[in-house]
Amino acid sequence: MMGMLLVGVYVFVLSIFVGFEVINKVPSTLHTPLMSGANAISGITIVGALQAATTGDATVSNLLGAFAIALAMVNVVGGFLVTDRMLRMFGRRE
């Protein structure tokens, strides 16, 4: 079990480096959209939320799962849409 944790830690640490490299030197005009877009990506937790609500019963886990799905979807849908709205403004003169 510790092995899996270690692999996860490897992936985590390397991804942070990738993140730093990829987003480095972002122009300040894009600070807000980058933030809201990145935020939408953190809604990836939806994958975990979906796994929590897989039966039809009114169990605690299903309630928590449904609530988590709702919040994650607010994050995903709201985040990507609002980011697109902003980026559309930046590009509309061309």
Binding site: F12, F17, V47, V60, L64, A66, A68, V74
Partner: protein
């Protein structure tokens, strides 16, 4: 691995790659919109892959949650005003954090409580999942409640000034120690059933409390740092959730968001010449304009009206606007654009000097000016703006204060000494549009207001601009 499992794993990998490319494109103006679409697509792939992996299950709860979330998210995103973007991002951060925390709680219920398994949580789900379960719960809950406080401060539902509880540092230390201690007991000592159920909710509650007590002492104008940091946390929380459910896609996507948030946090701290610790420990400044009185008296302040300002502008060749939070409060972005159009028609060059921490979130001013159709090429970052200041005829400071205070360069004992500023005082003539002589966020006197080239124009930014536009039209 069955063929379906293999396909799902490859779909997750594709999704992760698309997130990386999407983020890369999002950091360049030309490709940003495309990058956002790519990331959204990656999310869709991830969701479909998860559904395939789950096989045929009961979809009722999923549909309910998904539908509610989609509607709320879409309505909010389409209706929010650009001036309210910092609040919106704070709420989105909070939603992401809360979702991760709830997934942690749900995981505990599906794997320990509902199957009715006996033993400690670590013995049932393994050390790795237990450790990260506690972490995702903790970070997710701190993000959620911290974001709500940030939202309250940004939206004016709560005063922007730091709320300094006596012994707040001790309180935070106690809360952190309690969360750590209870986390260990929850995972490795107490039985998962019964005691564990109580403990996990106490953990959740204490973590929420910690989020509140961490953000309360941080003042309104430090919100660009707080929002960036919470953005980072929401990513890390998602990453921890990935550890819990054993999914690398979540670990990768979450870690990248964590890195993005950290980069922005760093940029903001540097722009204020303050360390992250200094911001996070809080208590700096008074929050909103006029909240502190120790600004000291001003002498030799010249004030001017829109008529005089119009005449000086008329004779100028190069005009630079320095916008600040006051521009957002007065919703004056369209009026600024109208003024710039008028000046440009007369052959006057107009640009905007944007300080990185102007406004309440990173890039706040850029979004507002983009809404008013100001071309982004006219927005100058700090360095460019300062290199052009000496040849600038008129600077108009609109609702900005500390970011143009020359004390940052000339007064070594000033609290803002060393902070990079826009050197408005270098210009031939400066007009500061402001409601009063009240101090800015740092609560100190602004030497620019007494500068021989400076004229104060008292009033609401939008009102002053409208008067000015009328004057210019009649000239």
């Amino acid at each position: 691995m069955s063929p379906v499992q293999t396909a799902v794993a490859i779909a997750y990998l594709a999704s992760a790659c698309m997130f990386i490319f999407g983020l890369k494109q999002m950091s360049r103006i030309r490709t940003a919109r495309q990058g956002n679409v790519l990331a959204a697509l990656a999310m869709a792939i991830a969701v479909v892959a998860t559904l395939v992996e789950l096989g045929k299950v009961d979809y009722r709860w999923m549909l309910l949650g998904g539908l509610v979330g989609t509607v709320v998210g879409a309505v909010a995103a389409l209706r929010v005003a650009m001036t309210a973007m910092p609040e919106m991002v704070a709420l989105l951060n909070g939603a992401g954090g809360a979702a991760s925390a709830l997934v942690g709680l749900a995981f505990f219920y599906t794997h320990v409580v509902e199957p009715g398994r006996v033993g400690t949580v670590a013995a049932i789900v393994g050390t790795a999942s237990t450790l990260t379960l506690v972490l995702s719960l903790w970070i997710g809950a701190v993000t959620a409640s911290g974001s709500l406080i940030a939202y309250a401060k940004l939206s004016g539902r709560m005063r922007g000034a730091p709320v300094l509880l006596p012994g707040r540092h001790a309180l935070n230390v106690v809360l952190i120690a309690a969360v750590l201690g209870l986390g260990v007991i929850f995972g490795w000592v107490a039985p998962g059933l019964g005691t564990g159920v109580g403990l996990i909710w106490i953990l959740f509650g204490l973590s929420l409390l910690l989020g509140v007590s961490l953000v309360l002492p941080i003042g309104g104008a430090d919100m660009p740092v707080v929002v960036s940091l919470l953005n980072s946390y929401s990513g890390v929380a998602a990453s921890m959730t990935g550890f819990v459910i054993g999914n690398n896609l979540l670990i990768i996507a979450g870690a990248m968001v964590g890195a993005a948030g950290l980069i922005l946090t760093q940029i903001m701290c540097k722009a204020m010449n303050r360390s992250l610790a200094n911001v996070v420990l809080g208590g700096f400044g008074g929050g909103d304009e006029g909240a502190t009185q120790e600004a000291g008296a001003y002498q030799n302040v010249r004030s001017a009206g829109p008529e005089e300002m119009a005449m000086v502008l008329e004779a100028a060749r190069k005009v630079v606007v320095v916008p600040g939070y006051g521009l957002a409060v007065a919703q004056a972005q369209h009026a600024v654009r109208e003024l710039a159009d008028l000046l440009e028609q007369r052959g006057i060059e107009v640009a905007y000097a944007i300080h990185p921490v102007a406004g309440r979130m990173p890039g706040h001013m850029n979004v507002l000016l983009a809404e008013a159709d100001v071309p982004y090429e006219h927005l100058w970052e700090l360095e460019r703006a300062n290199s052009e200041m000496k040849t600038t005829d008129v600077v108009i400071v609109l609702g900005a204060n500390d970011v143009v205070n020359p004390a940052a360069q000339s007064t070594p004992n000033s609290p803002i000494y060393g902070m990079p500023i826009i050197e408005a005082h270098q210009a031939k003539s400066v007009f500061v549009v402001k409601r009063s002589l009240g101090a800015g966020y740092a609560g100190i006197k602004n030497e620019l207001f007494e500068h021989p080239n400076t004229n104060m124009v008292f009033g609401d930014a939008k009102k002053v601009l409208q008067d000015l536009i009328a004057e210019l039209k009649s000239l």
